[in-house]
Symmetry: C2
Subunit: 198 residues, 2 copies
Amino acid sequence: MKKGEQTRQKIVAAAAAMFNQRGYEGGSLTDLMAATGLQKGGIYRHFSSKEELAAEAFDYNWKQAWQARIGAVDPNAPGLARVKQLIANFVEHRSPVPGGCPVLNTAVDADDGNAVLRKRVLKALRTWRMLLESAVDEAMQRGEAKRGVDAKTVATLVISSLEGALMISRIERSPDALHRVQEHLNHYLDTEVALCPE
Amino acid sequence: MKKGEQTRQKIVAAAAAMFNQRGYEGGSLTDLMAATGLQKGGIYRHFSSKEELAAEAFDYNWKQAWQARIGAVDPNAPGLARVKQLIANFVEHRSPVPGGCPVLNTAVDADDGNAVLRKRVLKALRTWRMLLESAVDEAMQRGEAKRGVDAKTVATLVISSLEGALMISRIERSPDALHRVQEHLNHYLDTEVALCPE
C-alpha cells in the first residue's frame, strides 16, 4: 500500500471513531488533527469536504459492525437458526469502533437533512434487512417456516427491536433490555415463524 | 408571567427544536440568536451554560412528546387497551417539535458522555416504562392478562421496537416499519399477554 493511501486510511479510521461517538456535528477538525497527528492541509489533501470524510467514516463503521454481526454465522445452517445467530451476535458482539451502532447514530444525525449520509444509512439498512429476509425466505422454501410468513415484517421487527434495545442498554449501561428483546425474538421465531419449534 | 420568564421560555422553545433536529453538538449560539432575535448576552443572562440550556430543552421536548403519547388515552379503559392506545399514539401522533423522538435523539447524543443529559433521558425512559408496566400489572390484577407475564419485558419490548421502528421510518420517510411493528405488538398483546384476546 502506498504511503498516501495509508495516511488516507488512518484518517478514515480516526474519523470513524470520532463521528460514531460525537455525531456528525460534534466531529471537529481539531480533534481529528490530534487523533491523527496531521495538520489541516494533510487531512484535506485527501478529502474535499467534511461530508465526504463522514460518508467514508460511516462506511468504515458499518463494515466493522457488519463483520461483528455476521461473524460465526454458519452459511449452511438452517435459515431460522441463522436469524437467531444474527440476533445473538448483535446482543453479544460489539463492533471494535466505540459509540454504538453506526446505523442508529447516523440515522438520528441524517434524518433531518444530510442527504449524502442518509443515502449511506439507507443502503446499510437495506443490506441488513435483505440478509434477514433471505434467511426467512429460505426457511419457508425448505419447509422450516410457516407458509405465509411475511419475511419483511420479521426482518423489520428484528432490526427495530434490537436497535431500540441497544439505545436503552447504552443509556442504562446494562444489557438487560437487549437480553429481554433477544428472548422475545427467539420465542417469536419459535412460535410464530417456525413450522415446528426447534 | 413576567417578561424575563417569557423570554426564558422563548429561548427554551427555540433551543428545543434546534437540539432535537441537530443534536447537542450541532446546536449553535448563532442559530439560537437568529431563532430568538436575541444577542448572546440576552441568552446567557438566563442560562449559565449550553449544558443547562440543553437539559431544559430536553425536558421541554419530552413534555411535548409525552403529551402526544398519552393524549386521548382513557385512564378508565382496561390496562391492555391502554397499552394498545399508547402504541397507536406513538405511531400516529408526533410531537409538535420537529426532529423525532427526543429520548432516542438525546440518548444517542448522551450515551458516550454528557452526564447531565444522560440523567434526564434515563428519567424520561423510566417514566415511560413505568406507565406501560403499571398498565400491564393492572391487567394482571384484574384477570385481563395471564398471571406470570413479566410487565418489565412487555414495556421494554414496546419501547424498544417502537423507537427502532421510528428510526427506520424517519430515515426511509415511510411509516411502513412503524405499522409493521404496531401490528406485531398488538398481536403479541392478544396472544401472549392477554388471558382472552379482545
